[in-house]
């Protein structure tokens, strides 16, 4: 405990130095801006800014990127409430009730509960990260390749099979990502795979390129193809203020949302969708104002999911920092930022780069305070961003996409590839394929392959090693449960419904 305190104070000393404070502030402000703007998410923004890793020191750039990640969550809720176009998957649920509240002239209260709830959840979750991440890192050191492979299998399963509409389309997306990850040099034997004689493919396809292609270029093309005539009406804002009654209804929802969100962020099960939906369902069930849900907008329906979202986002830092396993697209990009510095994310990170880790954690506390200030009194400023006409906004995004992709290794070939992946993104969006599995698959694929092969090598060439080691067998069991449980529930539900129908008929 004493040790923890010393580390954290050391982290604060680093994070509160002039330059790092400036990076945190710029990150938070930029994050809020891109969160508010439709079409740009934190993943793409961090991806486009990755070239700065060539010049800026690792601690400063991680603080900067984390600020963007966090800020986008705050900003995203503003857009959800005022425009009903969620910028992020995690703020989808916020849009449900928040937009209704705004329609009925309570946008101010919705914005306030979202921002304060985000602050509350973000801070509590950061405390939990501070307490648990070092413990988990100590434990993670004992894990070998078989356990890592099983953990990654779990991440693959949840990101492709559980999230999203259809397991089949999720699996297809995941394997497209795995296929992309195969291009280039094999990590273990150095064997060249799938380069088709193109020298640019030797180093593999960059995660940044795929993320920028899928999200930035794909989004721009999609807007040109299909969304030109979609009109959006913006709600008026009103005063950002909550009454006593609204405070009383928000606080329990924040606490429950945080409790739901954090565990989901920590387990390598990815995504903020499940906890935000769960929180929404819980609030709806527990609320004493059920009639407001779906009609005039219930404040609990904004407060709970917003808290769950931010707690989950903070929670994703735990598997990222302690295991080196990203469970969201943005976490995957943060992992490639670390890789750019030659820093191996994983349990050793807490010993080898302890300065960076603790400065990052300390900056989260600072960032949350900055974001509360940026988003409560200054919300009117960000809302002005929504007035930027769509055409120059999306065309401008292409310029930043060029910086991110071309700046990586100065190759015009990458720009053509980016366009091709943008087209893939359009098809995937049109046919309702989830895109997150592609990015997670391509970044985790090569790592999982290496762990699989090393694992089998440990077992002397036998696959039994995955079942014989208790931890890895346990994880395989979890994978099976994650895969089978939802189907079993559905089947049982369907059977019960049939029985009841039969009884009613008879």
């Amino acid at each position: 405990m004493q040790d923890l305190w010393t580390h954290l104070m050391g982290g604060f000393a680093t994070a509160a130095s002039g330059a790092n404070l400036m990076w945190a502030f710029v990150g938070c402000a930029l994050g809020t801006a891109i969160g508010v703007l439709p079409g740009l998410g934190p993943a793409v923004t961090v991806a486009m800014l990755l070239p700065i890793t060539a010049q800026v020191d690792p601690t400063a750039s991680m603080i900067f990127f984390a600020g963007i990640y966090y800020g986008a969550m705050y900003g995203g809720s503003t857009t959800s409430i005022l425009l009903n176009t969620p910028g992020e998957t995690g703020t989808m649920v916020t849009a449900l009730e928040g937009f209704k509240m705004a329609r009925h002239g309570r946008a101010g209260a919705a914005l306030a509960t979202a921002a304060i709830g985000s602050f509350f959840a973000g801070t509590i979750a950061t405390v939990l990260v501070t307490l648990f991440a070092p413990v988990l890192a100590d434990f993670a050191v004992t894990l070998g390749p078989p356990e890592y492979f099983c953990l990654m299998l779990l991440a693959f399963t949840t990101v492709s099979a559980v999230l999203g509409q259809s397991t089949l389309r999720g699996m297809t997306a995941l394997f497209i990502g795995l296929a992309m990850g195969l291009v280039g040099m094999d990590q273990i034997t150095g064997q060249i795979r799938y380069t088709a004689g193109i020298p640019e493919f030797m180093d593999g396809i960059e995660t940044v390129l795929v993320a920028v292609g899928l999200f930035a270029v794909g989004e721009t093309l999609y807007v040109a193809l299909y969304e030109g005539r979609s009109n959006l009406t913006m709600n008026t804002m009103g005063r950002v203020h909550m009454t006593r009654q609204e405070w009383k209804r928000s606080i329990p929802a924040w606490i429950r949302g945080t409790g739901l969100g954090f565990p989901f962020g920590v387990i390598p099960a990815g995504g903020t969708e499940i906890p935000t939906f769960l929180s929404y369902a819980t609030e709806r069930k527990l609320s004493r104002h059920k009639e407001e849900f779906g009609t005039t907008g219930a404040i609990e329906g904004v407060a709970g999911p917003e808290a769950a979202n931010n707690a989950a986002v903070t929670g994703t830092l735990v598997p990222l920092l302690t295991l080196g396993i990203p469970t969201s697209v943005t976490a995957a990009i943060l992992l490639s930022a670390l890789q750019n510095y030659g820093i191996q994310a994983g349990p050793q990170l807490f010993t080898t780069s302890s300065g960076l880790v603790w400065a990052l954690i300390a900056s989260l506390y600072i960032g949350n305070v900055m974001l509360l200030v940026l988003n409560l009194p200054l919300v009117g400023l960000w809302v002005k961003l929504l007035r930027i006409p769509r055409a120059p906004l999306y065309a401008g995004i292409l310029i930043f996409a060029t910086v991110g992709v071309y700046g990586m290794r100065q190759s015009a070939f990458d720009l053509y590839l980016m366009l091709a992946i943008g087209l893939l993104g359009v098809v995937m969006r049109r046919f309702d394929f989830p895109t997150a599995p592609v990015v997670v698959g391509m970044i985790l694929g090569p790592l999982a392959e290496a762990h699989l092969r090393n694992g089998v090598a440990i077992g002397g060439g036998h696959w039994g090693v995955f079942f014989e080691r208790p931890m890895s067998a346990f994880l395989l069991g979890v994978v099976a449960i994650v895969l089978l449980l939802p189907r079993l529930m559905k089947w049982l539900g369907a059977r019960r419904a049939r029985r009841q129908a039969a009884v009613a008929m008879g």
Partner: protein, 174 residues
């Protein structure tokens, strides 16, 4: 928001084509996998194992997608947002902007290539909104807007962050 009524998922023919494309990607992966030696060493699993697995699963997924498409369409599908029909010409302007950028960035430099990309893309996006192209005046405005975005970005990254974006002049300011 009026679009929500006419939203429609792409038809079964297109869904089938997407499935076929997935099978084709799997086929290409399998072809590539056959060229990778299986030399496993101590591991028991060679560098060609995962490629074969990925190829097989992709073909399987593709075939399943085709089956779903032929038997009533993809399951539990959310209708996509936006108009039911694609505006190909507008998108072509945008894609043209990216291609022009890729083709010219080394010869005319980052700033000018990106300005051109911006001009083409913004024209396409405005076309998609059903607005006119605005004539020579609008072209000039777009050029200036593009320049005002591209040039500061270039200076920020090249001068401050020492990134190597190509310039047209020797001094590297443009």
């Amino acid at each position: 928001m009026t679009d929500s009524i006419e939203q429609a998922a792409p038809g079964p023919l297109y869904q089938t084509l997407v499935g076929v494309a997935a099978v084709a990607v799997g086929g290409v992966m399998a072809f590539g996998a056959s060229a990778i030696p299986s030399d496993a060493g101590y591991a028991g699993i060679g560098p060609n194992a995962l490629p074969w697995f990925v190829a097989a699963v992709l073909m399987l997924c593709g075939a399943w997608l085709v089956w779903e498409a032929r038997t009533g369409g993809y399951r539990s599908m959310e209708p996509p947002s936006g108009a039911p029909r694609a505006d190909w010409l507008s998108a072509l302007w945008v894609a043209g902007g990216v291609v022009a950028n890729a083709a010219l960035i080394t010869t005319i430099g980052f700033v000018l290539a990106c300005t051109l990309c911006f001009m083409l893309a913004v024209r396409g996006l405005r076309r998609a909104e059903g607005k006119g192209h605005g004539g020579a005046r609008q072209v000039l405005i777009d050029a200036i807007t593009g320049l005002l975005i591209a040039a500061p970005v270039f200076w920020l990254f090249n001068k401050l962050l020492a990134l190597n974006l190509p310039a047209i002049t020797a001094g590297g300011w443009l």
